[in-house]
Subunit: 307 residues, 2 copies
Amino acid sequence: MKEVSVLCPGTIANLVCGFDILGLCLNAPADRMQVKLLRESTVVIQSADGYALPSDPQKNTAGAPLVEMLKQLEEGIGFEVTIHKQIKPGSGIGSSAASAAGAVVAANLLLNNRFEKEDLVRFALFGEKVASGVKHADNIAPCIYGGITLIRSIFPLDIVSIPAPPLYITLVHPQIEVRTSDARQILRKEIQLKDAIRQWGNIAGLVAGFMKSDYDLIGRSLEDVIIEPLRSILIPGFHEVKKRSKEAGALGGGISGSGPSIFMLSQTGPVALSVESLMKETYTALGIDFKTYVTTINNKGIQLLTD
Amino acid sequence: MKEVSVLCPGTIANLVCGFDILGLCLNAPADRMQVKLLRESTVVIQSADGYALPSDPQKNTAGAPLVEMLKQLEEGIGFEVTIHKQIKPGSGIGSSAASAAGAVVAANLLLNNRFEKEDLVRFALFGEKVASGVKHADNIAPCIYGGITLIRSIFPLDIVSIPAPPLYITLVHPQIEVRTSDARQILRKEIQLKDAIRQWGNIAGLVAGFMKSDYDLIGRSLEDVIIEPLRSILIPGFHEVKKRSKEAGALGGGISGSGPSIFMLSQTGPVALSVESLMKETYTALGIDFKTYVTTINNKGIQLLTD
């Protein structure tokens, strides 16, 4: 194999109460990426669409992880990456993680799976560092492992797959800019112990709800008393979408990653579709361009495309 | 039925990283309690052993919950409670919860289970209020439900049973006094967000570890970066017991409730017994009186005793 194409799915980090530790892999949207094996120790980045991505591999979210991987390979191996972006950068749906994770998973396929999944996460973290200044794995891990993942710890890396029942996910991406670094700066460094206790009760409830396939418990646990009150200020329409989605029967939801996208989880397809309708109504009324997706959990993560 | 005897088990609140939200029911130690149905609206408390418990029911951990229950009953129903305490008050093994929960469970048996388990938890919370000034359910819930319980929320009350694999528990109660109220005062009202993130990663890992029967994950998640560093100061021998227990093969453990008891979880009986030995060695060397228990998870909670 000298060249592979992979499908790199979007992901939802945080899942409301699980700030920095939980993530979920989506069936849509997804990037497509081709990676070619080269006979010299170099990384070449090509963009196949309108996005002005940095061509210096060190500064590129797909390139930096491959530069790290190269350090562990013998001389005379390199990669050329062509990215077909579907997940808009800055959407909060794991665009940078899809590039970072996709590049290393594809490269690893070309190397006959020489590296373990955990190694791939470690390489891909360098892409997140480039994108947001922080090595966070809550998009990368679900993108590589599929399904819902818990990052119990980053140093040392400890990734746990969390089984979950079927869920429908409705996403709206209002086309406004919220930079991950800005969304991080709005947070307080100190929080109230009583709020933290409420939050970890919800996190424990959410994990138990997923593993027990208890939809009511999932819904009750989708509450964030620490991050959402601050970050939702940056997203017009947030509270209306959330309120109306719950009224329409959604289990709950919140900010996808650091925003501005909003996601809602539903037990049935019809509810997920009516949530999409009210999201469209809300942003049309606000006069803000948007894009919506109705999708399900992707339990496979990044997949090889065979033509 | 005019009189019942119940066995009221000890419980471990917090379970290291789950401060105020997790609790585990023990097979030992346990109190014994007799409750007699009276024909007048009153609550009478008798102590069958040396402990000087308040005889005013309003000020007694078993009495206050019954006083609350009486408010929801017709005239002409009362209870006489005789407590045989085995769980030493102030041990950190849920002594007050055993009294509070035992009284209402026994009374409910005499009333042909008129109340739901959740109602019983609500009544029993008044006992915890008497004992420590705070309505906390992390001992009461496991005492009534058995097994491991999550208190996702107290207001509104939301209790979730967490399935777990077989575990051995080794407990040591060094005979020093640590009052629950003192142990609460030592805590900080504000904590670092980064510490909270680490903590909720561990809580999610612990719940997932229990539900996946993943002993290694349970062990890795038994880490508390917020409460233990402060409270362990009050318990001589704590760090030595913890370090040596892990070296002996224990999965991990920490302070039971607000202390001073220390518990360790093990996958096998022989490890649990060697943990007991080293606990004995440690406190003998320190010249502190102690009591130890080697036990397992009690999945039934409070049980009716039939002679």
